[in-house]
Symmetry: C2
Subunit: 348 residues, 2 copies
């Protein structure tokens, strides 16, 4: 939040809070309602206020404005009743990091995912949040424009796909992650590398597919027909992976747009009696528990860093452009043609 | 919340909110700051206030007490950086259901999981939450007593294991879930049914083991040595499951305290070339994505209902005793000795 940052060298409420090792709220209490504060804390904070030359008018003004000090986050479980591995982890990191950003996180759900704005309005009306962290950004997403039109602060985990004029976003470079997976498989000796993705139209899925096209072209391994698509569902993924795997043949490899798709392919491999890594290379995306359990190589998103950067943006960090973070390749048995690779390795 | 409930037939702020189809906050605004309310909303709410005979002093009092209208929930990711399937889903349901309970949810994390109380104090000091939803209740849990001693409202998802005098909890009857799994396997013709659990001392794990002991005793299938324990980790589970599976032999079955343990056993089965369900029965617990992906039978917790009941307790619903909810057995291929059982079935 802007009030936590030093302006022209003047001490802020956060400077006092840090020096006295208390929360910003406690400094506010010392200034506005000293009777609520324990005597030793009061003494310590007052001493730091004097030492740092903090002028408490800023804190008083903040209180008067009744800022909530919290950001709303819509939990979109797409009917599954759970966030899933990536958003679960992002929310944990966002919550953990919000402490050092002197903010809170308020999750909420929209009864109608297709018409989310009323739920955003409700949260603002309840005055528990000052703005929003967007996730699940997508094509024809009505939220960024509505938020900007109404002057409501927000930052997104995910590109604002349809409008480059929005710069308050942080995302993970999915194309770079898939590209790293392809290059890794090529280095391990796989010379036929296919891609199992989501149907075109999903911006995240299309981005990941781009990485495969780019890397296979660079390596002289491009073959347009070595790809297939499937919805994010295991049975569908198995059905789509089967013909692709048979077309590629034993000794080839497959990069998938998600771990769910990769597990679909993994099931096909075990049905054929092919050992992942030894008889056929396989890399997923997202580093879910599923991937760890089946020793699937995968691409891990830097979710703690992403959460930090989103909170920076909400805190007033200027953003001339969005920020693409590089993901990390996690190498496990499924991409190791030698059987002797049980140890987990990480390549950024 | 108590203010949302009708006392001696008098109309409450929630009655007005429902009748006028607005939020409780909007009714408060109409009463206290009508200039903030859009004219048509103002007219509609005022009409309902008059029609229902609502006396707005209650709303004014609530505002004066500065209730936050929110409950804190500690996110405990046990160092994994994510909640995992069960708590992810519980949080989504808690957030979804909080709308109809006219409350918000504020997640937070404790920097030191072993000493959580300071994080609870911090959240109260920030005045963004009025009380707490506890999860991950455990032996020697310092939180319930501290909360009660300080008069802070709370309700738990999970029994208050060490103190039966606490009744504000909702939990899932894990023993009943495991018992249902054992009976199901016996009905399917498995007469050697083992148990892979967590090491003794975990109250949830001990509870689940009880279900196995009880059911196998009832069915005349009890054998104390048909069990093993493992930490909640795939590699450890595989190592523990191997000798147990070999001891039970082909054609036997295993119930596990979690899906992670069951996947460990599943890996052992595939290593031996035994087909889950056909050559060896297997049932997990928690209905994770992992279980769905591998067509593992499992036990599903009624998390939406649990979230609702926890919010009821926080809203002032009296609780003479804790509430144990029955879980649901989800039958998939891994417990079907006939190959023709691909369809998912649910047994409560």
């Amino acid at each position: 939040m802007t009030s936590g940052r030093t302006v022209r060298g003047r001490a802020t409420i956060m400077d006092v809070a840090r020096a006295a090792e208390v929360s910003r709220q406690t400094v506010s209490n010392v200034v506005n309602q000293p009777s609520r504060v324990a005597p030793d804390t009061l003494a310590r904070v007052t001493k730091e206020i004097a030492r740092l030359g903090f002028r408490p008018s800023r804190a008083a003004r903040n209180l008067k404005q009744e800022r909530a000090g919290a950001w709303g986050v819509e939990l979109n479980s797409r009917g599954a009743g759970r966030l899933g591995s990536v958003l679960d982890s992002f929310l944990v990191h966002l919550t953990t990091r919000s402490r050092r950003h002197d903010a809170h996180i308020v999750p909420f759900t929209a009864p109608d995912h297709e018409t989310p704005i009323p739920a955003y309005q409700d949260l603002l009306a309840s005055r528990i949040a000052d703005g929003f962290v967007l996730t699940d950004t997508r094509h024809e997403d009505p939220r960024p424009q509505w938020l900007r039109d109404n002057g409501i602060p927000f930052a997104a985990f995910g590109r604002i796909w349809d409008d480059p004029s929005h710069t308050a976003w942080v995302d993970v470079d999915g194309a770079a992650g898939v590209e790293a997976a392809v290059r890794h498989l090529a280095e391990r000796g796989f010379d036929r590398i296919g891609f199992l993705g989501w149907p075109p139209g999903s911006p995240v899925g299309d981005d990941r597919r781009t990485g495969w096209s780019r890397a296979t072209a660079d390596l002289g391994l491009a073959r347009a027909d070595w790809q297939a698509t499937s919805a994010q569902d295991l049975a569908a993924a198995s059905a789509a992976a089967g013909p692709l795997i048979d077309g590629l043949g034993r000794g080839a490899a497959l990069v998938c747009a998600s771990d769910v798709l990769a597990v679909g392919a993994w099931v096909c491999l075990t049905e054929r009696g092919w050992r992942p890594g030894l008889d056929f290379g396989l890399v997923g995306f997202d580093d879910t528990d599923l991937a760890a359990a089946l020793r699937l190589s995968t691409v891990r998103q830097p979710l703690a860093d992403a959460a930090d950067r989103v909170l920076d943006l909400l805190g007033g960090e200027p953003s001339a452009s969005g920020l693409l973070l590089p993901p990390e390749l996690v190498i496990r048995a499924s991409s190791s043609p030698r059987a002797t690779a049980p140890t987990e390795m990480r390549h950024t």
